[in-house]
Amino acid sequence: MILRWTIGCIAGLLIIAVTSPCFVRSYTPRVVQPQRNALTLQPGAEYRWRSEGYANTQIGPLGMPGASPPLPLNPSTVHLALWGDSQAEGVCVADDQKIAAQTHHLSAERIDVLPFARSGDDCNDWLPQITSLQRSSIKLDAHVFLLVEWSDWCQPVRQPSSITDQQFDWVAEQLPAFLIQATRNVLTTGTDNQFRRLRFRPGPITSNSSATAVAPAAVTEQPDQWTSRVAMLAVQLARLKHQTRLPCIFLYAPLSPAIINGDILWDDPDDDLFQAMQSIAAELGFDVVDLRHQMQQSVRTGKQWPRGFHNGQFGVGHYNAVGYRIISAALAAHPRLDALPLTSTANTVTAER
């Protein structure tokens, strides 16, 4: 009987192991990418996302996710560097639906987008990478920033957050993804990925748990908080201006419209911050494209939600193929890019610190 149960348990685990790639995301070790001077996923690896969206991503050269343009780049096309967080990274959608591929297609193959966006990054991570890239042989014509969450820019200046975690990389390389995921599920909480803390103390619980947390939209910002955010934004944009002479294009696509508690929220709660950013960007010579109207029109007329997935929830979460099409169309049609490529001059640009 013991033998039967042992064999049976092994067989059950094997079935889970074999079927897990259909349902469990992959864990890929990260490597230091010398030209970007940043930690990226291993070039050539395939990255599976199995949560909100459900897609496989091919990791290209320089750790770029998706169908990146081949290196060396075609000198007759416009070369854009795309920066952003997970909203721009696009592991939730297939490679041919990511911003890079859609922009290339919508611009009649005139524009090549190099996707440098990475989940969890903010401006403190992008700016040093921009400097590194300018010292490399990569010829860029402009930088594009997908601005979805203000926390990516309203940050105090600090060192980049990329720190090599050799233990994690070893685990990701050696152990199957389902085992890592199972361990992670047991050890961490689902809501904020913090280490699970067990409570055996009798209730009631008086801590500010997630159940009592206020929805972000309902939080009223204090005037001094707003001023401090604008100040941080101004500092970071000035750093960017100092870092590069290439044209910079900001695509503003905030998390609206959104579905919160059964209601569609059309208004952007950070509109005043956007106005402030626009005026700072105008002073610094940056282009800002407001995509809010296009996103709203997509919902109002086409009933197509730019964010959300069937196996997640529409109106929340990451941008989907529809959202990326809107972003890509705006990028492909941007007038500043008509005058490009200027690779001969762009090549000579160096960072000034």
């Binding site: 149960w5 049976g8 349902f23 469990v24 809501t191 508690n261 059964g262 009933k303 929830q313 109106g315």
Partner: protein, 461 residues
């Protein structure tokens, strides 16, 4: 403490270990009682007093009823029990509901009644019904009042069934508690473990997955197209069934692992061919409680068809109100009451039950509409859902694959249960597939559980 928390699994392992080490009935029951009070205090220790109060009142009252020879005095003691139990339940559960419902009338008289900030004690509806059934059974002479306060306190607070049933009668559990310590049986322990595992799978992998979709659609049904709203309503039928039957399975399984036997609470209710049969398969311990302590005392079906209809409707109305202090629950009870009456009337006309398919489909339709009433927060929300179900207004077409798969599992589960596969589903220890399926279930619970915490639906009742 919820059955799906890691803390509970550790607590259970400890309780099982200690309980099976106790060879004396008294010490074993004491361990289980302390564990049960700890289990309850994990939510809020202040309400242990309420549990103690209910226990003490019914223990004393039952003794008085037993020892008092005069019928009139017995009745007086019964009234004491009923009024104290229902008084506590009424205050904590229904005070604000009645105040709010009466507010328009009272305000028109120039008085503005306020509401109180009352916390509903977890499980109060369940343990109140258990203690009531004990006192009433003693009053009726069906059982003897117990002499052991420890046994009775454990009967009321026994942690597997304390907060969401099944509603176990004193005649079922007290003899087990006051008898000899059950003998260890690895076969029974394994059976209990399988029930717990099955309950966890039902709750975590099916109910919670369905709940992720259902909660969003019911929050704004007007945003979604007809297909999506239909999927959400079917999904809710699955969610509430797997949530509650999952809880019951875990409770029954834990009791079995401890050597006790609990009554079955669900028998695949969506296979029912009539609404009457549905109530014989859904929350069976509540149905028979309502039948024995409400419907039959009201007269049952003994006084003609009109009186039977009224009795049925009163019973179901109060059954609805038991679920929650809201008009939607009252309407849900009324809906089922009317359906039972109409079904009886149709049966009396034709003289036989309707053909299986017709009866089955009509039962599903009645139950489905009932779930809309049950799930919505207000009548306005119900109307919005019904509008989308009927008129198919355009909206977001959202078809989550996992929710659809969970609905598919529900259909497959019901079909399998009605065939010979029912035996296979028991996963007997000596079958070759038992370890394979058991491992897969445990692995799926760890790997594929939704990452947020979702309490059991019936905790709110």
């Amino acid at each position: 403490m919820q059955f799906t928390q890691i803390e509970f699994l550790l607590f259970l392992a400890l309780v099982l270990t200690i309980a099976w080490q106790c060879r004396q009935r008294h010490s074993r029951n004491l361990v289980l009682l302390l564990a049960s009070y700890y289990f309850y205090s994990y939510w809020d220790y202040r309400f242990c007093g309420l549990l103690l109060f209910s226990t003490a009142v019914d223990f004393v009252v039952a003794k008085k009823i037993q020892t008092t020879p005069a019928r009139r005095s017995k009745r007086c003691w019964l009234v004491v029990s009923l009024s104290s139990n229902l008084g506590v339940l009424g205050f904590f559960k229904y005070f604000n509901f009645f105040i709010e419902s009466a507010a328009p009338l009272v305000q028109s008289l120039g008085w503005n009644p306020g509401t109180l900030d009352i916390i509903l004690p977890v499980g109060i509806s369940f343990y109140t019904f258990q203690t009531l059934s004990y006192t009433i059974d003693v009053y009726r002479g069906k059982i003897d009042a117990t002499d052991s306060l420890l046994d009775f306190a454990l009967y009321v607070a026994f942690f597997p069934q304390l907060v969401a049933g099944p509603i176990v009668r004193a005649s079922e559990l007290l003899p087990q508690l006051s008898g000899n310590v059950p003998h260890w049986s690895s076969r029974r322990f394994y059976g209990g473990f399988q029930m717990v595992l099955r309950g966890l799978v039902k709750k975590v992998l099916l109910a919670d997955r369905l709940g992720e979709m259902v909660d969003v659609v019911f929050a704004g049904p007007e945003l979604y197209d007809g297909w999506t709203v239909w999927l959400a309503v079917i999904g809710y039928a699955g969610q509430i069934y797997y949530d509650f039957s999952g809880y019951s399975d875990i409770a029954i399984g834990i009791a079995k692992m401890l050597g006790f036997r609990f009554p079955v609470n669900f028998r695949h209710p969506y296979l029912a061919g009539s609404v009457t049969e549905f109530w014989r398969r859904w929350h069976m311990t509540l149905s028979r409680w309502l039948r024995d302590y409400l419907y039959i005392p009201l007269g049952g079906s003994r006084h003609g068809s009109m009186r039977t209809a009224i009795n049925l409707i009163i019973t179901m109305l109060l059954g609805g109100l038991w679920h929650g202090a809201a008009w939607t629950f009252v309407l849900w009870g009324l809906w089922h009451g009317v359906a039972l009456v109409v079904e009886r009337w149709l049966r009396s006309l034709s003289g036989r039950a309707s053909p299986f398919c017709l009866g089955h489909l009509s039962t599903l339709a009645v139950v489905g509409v009932g779930w809309v009433l049950f799930r919505c927060d207000s009548l306005q929300d119900c109307w919005l859902v019904v509008q989308q179900l009927v008129f198919w207004s355009p909206g977001i077409g959202w078809y989550p694959p996992l929710a659809i798969a969970a609905v598919g599992c529900m259909v497959a589960d019901h079909i399998a249960w009605s065939t010979r596969l029912r035996r296979v589903m028991r996963l007997r220890f000596d079958r070759w597939y038992a370890p394979v399926v058991t491992t897969i279930m445990i692995a799926c619970l760890i790997l594929y559980a939704p990452r947020g915490f979702a309490p059991f639906v019936y905790f709110q009742f």
